[in-house]
């Protein structure tokens, strides 16, 4: 073929390849990957290989995790490219390559099912496929894209091998699938079922129907048993060669899958994943969770949703009906929990797999049919029908509108992260990296909060160790595997389970050598403060650094899993080597005809030349032209018998009218829907008001009010209402109850608002009066204007402390002196209490119930009082250990927030250590506990030594300091009849208290029902313990000031 002819034939494919390169290249280099979910995770993995190619163990996440848990090829390629560019550029290049290869692969895959021109259109549609745009620019799933491209290019070789039996095709197909296996095992494994399954089945059907060249025609003798036997034999002879070739291919593929990533399979066998199911929105009911429906159904399908009925109709009516069935199956499974059928089909796998991948595969499989659709519209029957019935202009308009919609939707999808932020604003990591690198801060672990997926980008830039990570399959800490949360970093999005897990880590930082927390979300500040952490300051990038005193540094040697040399060699060589192996196979098969070569080899040649092998395995099965599809689709015969319904073509005017009416109905329907959504009702006004308050749009919230206050007065009134709910909470739920009123223009609505804070959730009941004014329903706010601000000077005096650590060298930073300097403490009134009705863990969902056992109710608490008997403030850490009769440790934890962690000289605080979470859940019987050990230790501190709050009267708090107290906290002790300590309760006030101002005390937390004491021996150990027994204070009040 001349170059000119070749160009003419493939110009659309070239256009598609250039288009894919330009479209995705521009967006990727513009930085879309920064806002994706997974890009930074893959960059982190690549960073591992860039740093230590031969060691498949990374200590930077999860106290160490194995890299063999994820096939490495794409990460290793990125790592190699980073040596000449940078990690992000390497990622972009591999991703761009994947997108272009996928475009080529779609053409080649489509050619198996449709003619040349539809296949070209399919490749053009790939460029603006919204599912690919979403995978690349929203999800950042590099391995998925890479493997999809490679796999689509491998499948034509698989087809060719099974059809013709050329060893060249088999070797090339295996080579490409080896690359795919090294890129992502799940896509190769599951994807092959849905992609190669239709190929294998369709080829078998074709062979079944196609007479062999040597096959004599069946005589016209009447049907007999012998004739039937001959017919069966013929068909077996037709099918068997292909079947055997499929078997050869299948066995080879399994060997390739196993060998290429053998360390992965060995790991998954020896160390099965114990993580309980983490909810994923792709498993939700899309009609209920419409946001999930948008992300996992509307966006990936996009314009293709309109083509789906055509594809199913066209597919089922042709030889491609198995592919169409595969498409339908995947599309249906991709609807997640919208219907119960996918869960029943997939069984247990439903709760492990993320189902968006099925939708992604379906949107790829539909492309050959979509190419057919475009071809039909531009050159075929569909276009002809439109011209005949509506006119040529309409065909152009429909094609143009579809093209416009496709491109617009692809652009919208690719930029979705700009319109709708899934990640926090980009964080400049340099200040954090520098902080970790200096003064030996990397001798401890750190944690990020509110970073989103950017935490992986931070990890990629430092050798410091993070206590968690962004790849939950690699988790092994029970505190993480036993909770259904994706990341501690975004704990607030997983509500109580997420925060419960985060609390475990922040309460017991010494267990993980966790000393620093980088906070990019105010939400977590109260939890850190009341768990004994102190704020070191704010970095240049506005990220806050919090520190915990008295945490031991990391051991000199961090435990790592040493893999055998052969496994490390395999992992380092084979994945990247698969590319070279494939290149070699492509090259060698270009010059050598393996079928001929085999038959020339002595001995082997005799076998190959033998009829058995030639016929069953290697010979081409020349295929006769396919008969019309109707002949083998039995149902068509039935359909043909049905009376034909002939429709008289309508006049053009009528058609135009109908189309216009349809369009108008759609527009009107949308309008009504939007209007109903924004209907002016008391509830909708309250909903909008709360929404504005939740997202801190205070000026907007004023517009929903009917009040005598001016906007400035209202804003001032709001500013005086600080506190945990106003400043550190997230609105979780709202429910309304409307009273019946006599006046239709008045309404009284009771609102129950559920607020989530880092310290727990609050339900706040409010009663609102609303009035139907000229501008709609408005909330009546009848409060007196707040006093105008006046200049008032409030002065206080307080001692301050500075600890001059004897830093001889940076190597010695606080590693010796600071730890050794222990505060003198006194402890008393220690008791072990059990509250049988309080929850202590997250009861598993029904699908996890069988494999997760535990005791999820019955809180065990150790209570007491502790006093600082030293002459300087002390940071106090109290740990309780429960042991059985043999002294075996059953559970261990520190005090979370039910104590004052920093004590002034002579100050006394009650404390309560609650056993909850993974450890406590595993104590199936409370009777197992035979002894309790209490470890009390203190170190000097200069933080959090202000005590601004005064209990003015039994029900009033007064702020005696010069700073607003944002979250007042009251610890109250409850005693039994003998004056012994019985319980310690903790209450956070919801309102802030301004300087020199008072606030009423809300009801204090009650003593739990059925509380009883356990009579157990308690051992108290401390580095410096005073024998003095402190008195039990009735109340301790303190608070957090920002």
């Amino acid at each position: 073929m001349s170059a000119e002819k070749w160009f003419i034939q493939y110009r659309l494919l070239l256009l598609a390849l250039v288009g894919a390169f330009a479209f995705h290249g521009v967006l990727l280099f513009a930085g879309t990957y920064r806002n994706t979910y997974d890009a930074y995770v893959h960059i982190f993995f690549a960073d591992h290989y860039a740093r230590s190619w031969w060691i498949p163990w990374d200590t930077r996440w999860y106290t160490g995790f194995t890299m063999v848990s994820y096939p490495p090829l794409t990460h290793q390629l990125t790592a190699l490219l980073s040596k000449i560019t940078s990690l992000p550029t390497g990622f972009i290049v591999v991703m761009l390559f994947s997108a272009v290869v996928t475009t080529l692969g779609v053409y080649r895959f489509s050619r198996l099912w449709v003619a040349h021109r539809p296949a070209l259109y399919a490749s053009l549609l790939t460029v603006f496929s919204s599912s690919i745009a979403e995978t690349v620019h929203v999800f950042g799933q590099l391995p998925t894209m890479f493997v999809m491209g490679v796999m689509l290019n491998a499948l034509p070789y698989v087809w060719a091998w099974i059809e013709r039996g050329k060893l060249r095709d088999l070797l090339r197909g295996w080579g490409l699938l080896m690359i795919a296996a090294a890129g992502h095992h799940v896509t190769t494994l599951f994807g092959m079922v849905f992609f190669s399954g239709p190929i294998l089945a369709t080829l078998l059907l074709l062979k079944f129907r196609t007479p062999h060249p040597q096959e004599p025609p069946l005589d016209d003798a009447p049907l007999s048993l012998g004739m039937m036997w001959r017919a069966v034999k013929r068909r077996v002879r037709r099918v068997m060669p292909a079947l055997i070739r499929e078997g050869v291919f299948g066995v080879g593929l399994i060997i390739i899958l196993v060998v290429t990533v053998l360390p992965y399979w060995l790991w998954s066998r020896s160390d099965p994943i114990t993580q309980i199911t983490i909810p994923h929105a792709s498993r939700d009911n899309f009609l209920v969770n419409t946001a999930a429906g948008f992300m996992f159904f509307i966006v990936p399908w996009g314009v293709m949703l309109m083509v789906l009925p055509y594809a199913i109709y066209k597919g089922l009516g042709s030889r491609n009906w198995i592919l169409a069935l595969s498409l339908m199956g995947m599309a249906f499974v991709g609807t997640g929990g919208t219907t119960p059928i996918p869960a029943k089909l997939l069984g247990g796998a439903f709760y492990i797999l993320t189902l968006d991948r099925f939708t992604f595969w379906a949107t790829i499989i539909i492309l050959p049919f979509a190419g057919q659709f475009v071809e039909s519209l531009l050159h075929g029957r569909l276009g002809g029908w439109i011209i005949a019935h509506l006119g040529a202009w309409w065909r152009l308009m429909v094609a143009g509108a579809l093209g416009f919609a496709l491109i617009t939707f692809a652009l919208f999808t690719a930029n979705l992260t700009q319109f709708r932020r899934f990640q926090p604003a980009p964080i400049e990591m340099t200040p954090i990296v520098e902080f970790l690198a200096k003064d030996n801060h990397d001798k401890w672990r750190y944690l990020t909060l509110g970073f989103g997926d950017q935490m992986a980008w931070l990890s990629a830039q430092t050798t410091a160790l993070n206590v968690e990570g962004n790849y939950h399959s690699a988790r092994r800490l029970p505190e993480l595997t036993s909770t259904p949360i994706e990341r501690l970093d975004g704990a607030k999005f997983t509500e109580i389970p997420g925060l419960g897990s985060l609390q475990q880590f922040l309460t017991n930082p010494h267990r993980y050598n966790l000393k620093y927390v980088f906070v990019n979300d105010d939400f977590y500040e109260p939890l850190l403060y009341f768990s004994g952490w102190h704020r070191l300051g704010q970095l240049e990038n506005d990220v806050q650094v919090w520190e915990r005193a008295d945490v031991p540094p990391l051991p000199a040697t961090i435990p790592t899993q040493i893999y055998p040399a052969w496994q490390r060699l395999m992992w380092g060589v084979l994945p990247v080597g698969s590319i070279f192996i494939t290149l070699f196979l492509f090259t060698i098969t270009q010059f050598i005809n393996f079928n001929q070569l085999l038959s020339r080899i002595p001995l082997l040649g005799r076998v190959v030349r033998g009829r058995l092998v030639r016929f069953w395995l290697l010979d081409e099965d020349a295929r006769a032209p396919l008969p019309a599809s109707e002949d083998w689709q039995l149902w068509r015969r039935f359909i043909r018998r049905l009376p034909k319904i002939s429709v008289t073509p309508l006049a053009k005017r009528a058609v135009y009218g109908a189309v216009l009416a349809l369009m108008l109905m759609v527009v009107l329907g949308l309008g009504v829907f939007m209007l109903r959504k924004q209907a002016d009702t008391p509830q909708s006004t309250l909903l909008a008001y709360y929404d504005a308050l939740d997202f801190k749009r205070f000026t907007e919230s004023y517009t929903y009010l009917e009040t005598a206050l001016t906007r400035e007065e209202y804003l001032r009134w709001l500013s005086l209402r600080g506190g945990i709910l106003a400043s550190f909470a997230k609105l979780e739920n709202l429910s309304f109850l409307q009273e019946t009123t006599s006046n239709p223009n008045d309404a009284v609505v009771h609102v129950s608002a559920e607020w989530l804070t880092a310290l727990g959730s609050y339900t706040v009941q409010d009663r609102y009066e609303l009035v139907n004014s000229s501008s709609g329903w408005r909330i009546r706010l009848d409060v007196s204007p707040p006093p105008p601000p006046r200049e008032t000077v409030i002065s206080t005096t307080a001692p301050d402390f500075y600890f001059d650590l004897p830093l001889n060298t940076l190597e010695e930073t606080a590693l010796t002196r600071g730890v050794l300097d222990r505060s003198l403490l006194a402890i008393g009134a220690v008791r072990v209490m059990v509250a049988p009705t309080l929850p202590i863990g997250f009861a598993p969902e029904s699908y996890d119930a069988k494999r997760v056992k535990g005791r999820f109710e019955g809180l065990i608490s150790v209570i007491g009082v502790v006093q600082n008997r030293d002459s300087y403030p002390a940071q106090v850490t109290i740990s309780a250990i429960l042991r059985d009769a043999d002294g075996v440790r059953l559970a261990e934890t520190n005090v979370m927030d039910v104590m004052l962690h920093q004590l002034l000289p002579q100050e006394i605080t009650p404390f309560r250590i609650d056993f909850s979470g993974a450890d406590a859940v595993q104590i199936l019987e409370i009777e197992q506990i035979a002894q309790v050990e209490l470890v009390v230790r203190g170190v000097p501190t200069a933080y959090h030594i202000d005590r601004p709050l005064v209990l003015l009267t039994a029900d009033t708090l007064y702020n005696a300091s010069a700073q607003s107290v944002d979250i007042p906290h009251i610890l109250a002790t409850h005693t039994d009849a003998d004056g012994g300590l019985w319980w310690v309760s903790s209450t956070y006030l919801q309102m802030a208290i301004a300087p020199d101002d008072t606030a009423p005390i809300s009801p204090l937390s009650a003593v739990p029902a059925d509380l009883y004491a356990l009579d157990l021996p308690i051992t108290i150990t401390a580095p410096r313990l005073d024998e003095h027994i402190p008195t039990i204070p009735s109340f301790v009040v303190h608070g957090y000031s920002r």
């Binding site: 403030p873 002034l904 000097p940 005590r947 005064v950 009267t953 005696a960």
Partner: protein
Amino acid sequence: MTRLCLWIIGLLLLIPPVRADAPLTIVMPTSIVAGEPLSIIITQPTAQAGDKLTITLLHGFSRHDAQLTIGTGGITNWHIPADELIHAGEALLLVGDVRQSLTILPNTPAQTDLITTANSLTAYGEGKAMLITLVRDAFGNPIIGRASLNVLFPNFTRLTMSLPIRDGLGWTYFSSVGGVGRTRIRLSAGVGESALEIRQNPSHPALIELDIVPECLFADGRDPLQLVASVYDGYHHPVADGTQVIFRWLGGEGSALTLDGTARLSIPAPTRTGVHYYSAMSGEAQSNTTPLIIAERCAP
């Protein structure tokens, strides 16, 4: 038979003659101190001048190999320069099948670390802390021996003691002497010397004097009430800065921190006319109850 005899004779001729080797002698000290040069003289009378001799010294995890040329009289010398053998412990010399051990002793003390379990102590003999010292030679080898400890208390009392050091570690308890001030501690061992200062702080609160300023207030709730507590230890020294003082009154309480022995708390005055009583406590000390008069008019 003759053939057999000849064959046996031939076989015997092939076996090399047994030569009685003269014993190889090694002259070297049985012990040296870390960093000291080492000279080893090896004599092998049967060896010819120019012959090579391989010698190995195993020293901890390190291995020193040398190939020596034997001189006249079968004598050769291996000199290991100073600062090569620096780790204290046993070394083993291997020459062929001959083995000889060498002990490397720590050198003289050159580095000392001084650590306490408390940066400050309660004065008047009420405070006790542990002093820990780590003594090493110039190469980091722990020392066995004694170190000299000198403590100068705030009242100029001097304590001198010889601290036994075992495996580089020495420790002792010491109590505060005298009143509030700084205690200077100096430890010396060989050329190594460390110094440390520890604060001697006031003792626990023992006496609280509570003042209310003013003693009488209008009942309009506009004037602040200041509670001032002066807190002293048992030796009438103001307590340490930052000591918490709790003020109590009917139905309420508040706390303040001492600065130079005085804690102040400003709170809104009660509005109910009459006499209100206040008290202060810190540690085990408690003040007398002090009255405050809230009235429509206060006497000048």
